[in-house]
């Protein structure tokens, strides 16, 4: 099948939607489909062969922050040309409610269109979605996908209509192998954490408390922490002075280094206290084959198969977390067992599986429909 995919955000900026589009496109190509992606990108950015650049995205205030988006008549003309030349059987737009390429594609295209909604839409934006110009574009969509139940709920309640939920996948092969960071995990063992440090729901305070209990009992045990933070000093001052030099803060890391971090530790910890719908980071650790200790919130219970594919501890309980971590650090046999179980469990979240789900949506919308074309009226700027 010939598939055209639009990405609303700049390809050269890391982000969840861009990663989703990349992984989906690659999984579909692996399945033997012909895929073309159009995305905003700087002219000098090296792009994969399946990506067409739509020009530089313009930083512009949107919804209280600055977003880099593609809009205007030049972008519209590029999208038109891409659709005209592409001869796609199906057009798959991502985040069409954002003022960028996907919305433009809906406007200029006719034929089978599938849309994926990634975020729960805040109330302030709902008025705008009902706004005539946008409405016309959204009404052309034949099949809708939401990446989470929360995204689906806002769609149903505020825009109307329904969507199938197909969660994000994990590109497991990207995580399988990587060189550990120099000197890691080291003799005394290492625990890893990934995520926003200043977001309390990510649970770092619980892990620090547990480390305070474990530290004296396991000399040489270190903690490797990667993620964005505002105030590193404030964070380190929460643990006793003697333990501080055993905590290594990496700050925000690249996608590549993230995989290396996962391969640099003996145990990975997901202490999130709530607010996770899936736990992508935990699934990535599983894909790297790292034994995982996670809080027993619903999302982790599900991905870890109720504790078969990783240890669960009582949510928010630092003593229980310390016990679980201590037990694993002292038992290499159990770690190997969990690693194998995690790799097996995460396979069902692999992009190849997810892409097949998306493909069946394509198959449904192309039934009895012609190929994607440009409309006569929409977006002709000559």
């Amino acid at each position: 099948m010939k598939i055209g995919i639009t990405c609303p955000y700049s390809w050269d900026v890391p982000g969840g939607v861009q990663q989703h589009v990349r992984d989906l496109a690659e999984a579909l190509i692996d399945e033997g489909h012909e895929v073309s992606v159009i995305s905003p990108a700087d002219d000098d950015t090296p792009l994969p062969p399946y990506v067409t650049g739509a020009g530089r995205a313009v930083p512009v205030p949107y919804n209280g922050s600055v977003a880099r988006l593609s809009f205007g008549f030049l972008s519209t003309n590029r999208v038109r040309r891409w659709i005209k030349d592409g001869g796609f059987d199906v057009l798959h737009v991502h985040e069409p409610e954002i003022p960028s390429l996907s919305l433009l594609a809906c406007w200029v295209a006719s034929g089978p269109i599938v849309a994926t909604f990634h975020t729960a839409i805040p109330r302030s934006r709902i008025l705008l979605v009902t706004y005539p110009v946008v409405r016309t574009g959204l009404e052309k969509i034949n099949g809708r996908i939401a990446v989470s139940e929360a995204a689906r709920t806002t769609l149903v309640e505020h825009i109307g209509g329904d969507a199938v939920v197909i969660p994000n996948g994990v590109a497991t092969r990207h995580y399988r192998k990587a060189e550990p960071l120099p000197g890691w995990p080291g003799e005394g063992g290492a625990i890893g954490f990934l995520g926003r440090l200043d977001e309390p729901r990510k649970g770092l305070p619980v892990l620090l408390k547990a480390f305070e209990i474990l530290g004296p009992r396991h000399p040489g045990l270190r903690l490797l922490v990667a993620g964005r933070y505002a105030d590193a000093d404030e964070l380190l001052h929460r643990v006793p002075a003697g333990l501080r030099d055993r905590i290594v803060l990496l700050g925000q890391v690249s996608e590549e280094d993230k995989v290396r971090v996962l391969h640099s530790v003996d145990v990975f910890c997901s202490p999130n206290t709530g607010g996770e719908s899936f736990g992508i980071v935990t699934a990535e650790a599983m894909a790297a084959g790292v034994p995982v200790v996670a809080s027993d919130i619903d999302a982790f219970r599900q991905v870890l198969r109720g504790g078969e594919a990783g240890e669960l501890f009582a949510n928010g309980d630092a003593a229980d977390l310390a016990r679980a971590l201590g037990r694993l650090l002292g038992d290499p046999g159990r770690r190997a067992e969990l690693s194998a179980a995690a790799l097996a469990a995460v396979a069902e979240y692999d992009w190849s599986v997810v892409a097949r789900g998306v493909y069946s949506v394509y198959e449904t919308v192309v039934l009895g429909s012609t190929e994607v074309a440009v409309t006569a009226s929409g977006g002709d700027f000559g």
Binding site: G64, T76, S100, L103, S124, L128, G379
Partner: protein
């Protein structure tokens, strides 16, 4: 003796008149601040409504329309975003600038019905915001200076009126990193 009394009374009278003139001046300045603020509000509202008209005109692509409409929406007090007015108005300025500074934008609008008038109106409204804010900040500066003088402070000549605040926002018609003016 009598001349002394006359001089004292005259001095006291003069002081009284002077102080009341100073108080009256501060009062008048406050009134001018109110008027300038009302004028500024009116120009901001006018700019927002013209920008919204452009957004809904059908002249633009839906992405640009949505951007502009969303920026206009953000300037209304009733939104749930809690973004302060000055930041929200600056957002609208930047959104307009992003639209107008696209290379070839004006050429692309040529020949479309009503486009020239509407774009000219947007530009005029944006320029009026620039002027109204300048005048408002001038009178605020004068008022704050008058209030800060020792006599005004000791005798509390400004009464219970609170000191007026400057209104800071990005209202520049010229794009930051190029020297392309927004103007037609």
């Amino acid at each position: 003796m009598i001349t002394d009394i006359v001089i004292v009374i005259a001095a006291a009278l003069f002081m009284g008149v002077y102080v009341s003139w100073r108080a009256g001046r501060i009062d008048r300045l406050h009134a001018r601040v109110d008027m300038a603020r009302a004028a500024l509000d009116a120009t901001l509202l006018r700019r927002a409504s013209v920008a919204l008209e452009l957004a809904t005109s059908g002249l633009l692509d839906p992405a640009t329309s949505l951007l502009l409409a969303s920026a206009v929406h953000g300037t209304r007090d009733s939104t749930g975003t809690d973004r302060p007015r000055d930041l929200a108005e600056s957002d609208l300025t930047r959104a307009l600038r992003a639209v107008f500074s696209q290379p070839g934008f004006l050429t692309s609008m040529k020949g479309k019905e009503g486009a020239d008038e509407l774009l000219a109106e947007v530009e005029a409204a944006a320029h009026q915001v620039f002027l109204a804010r300048k005048f408002y900040n001038d009178v605020v500066a004068a008022t704050r200076l008058a209030r800060s003088r020792p006599l005004a402070r000791v005798l509390r000549l400004s009464g219970r009126a609170s000191a007026p605040e400057f209104f800071e926002m990005d209202d520049s018609l010229v794009a930051e990193n190029t020297s392309t003016p927004l103007s037609l």
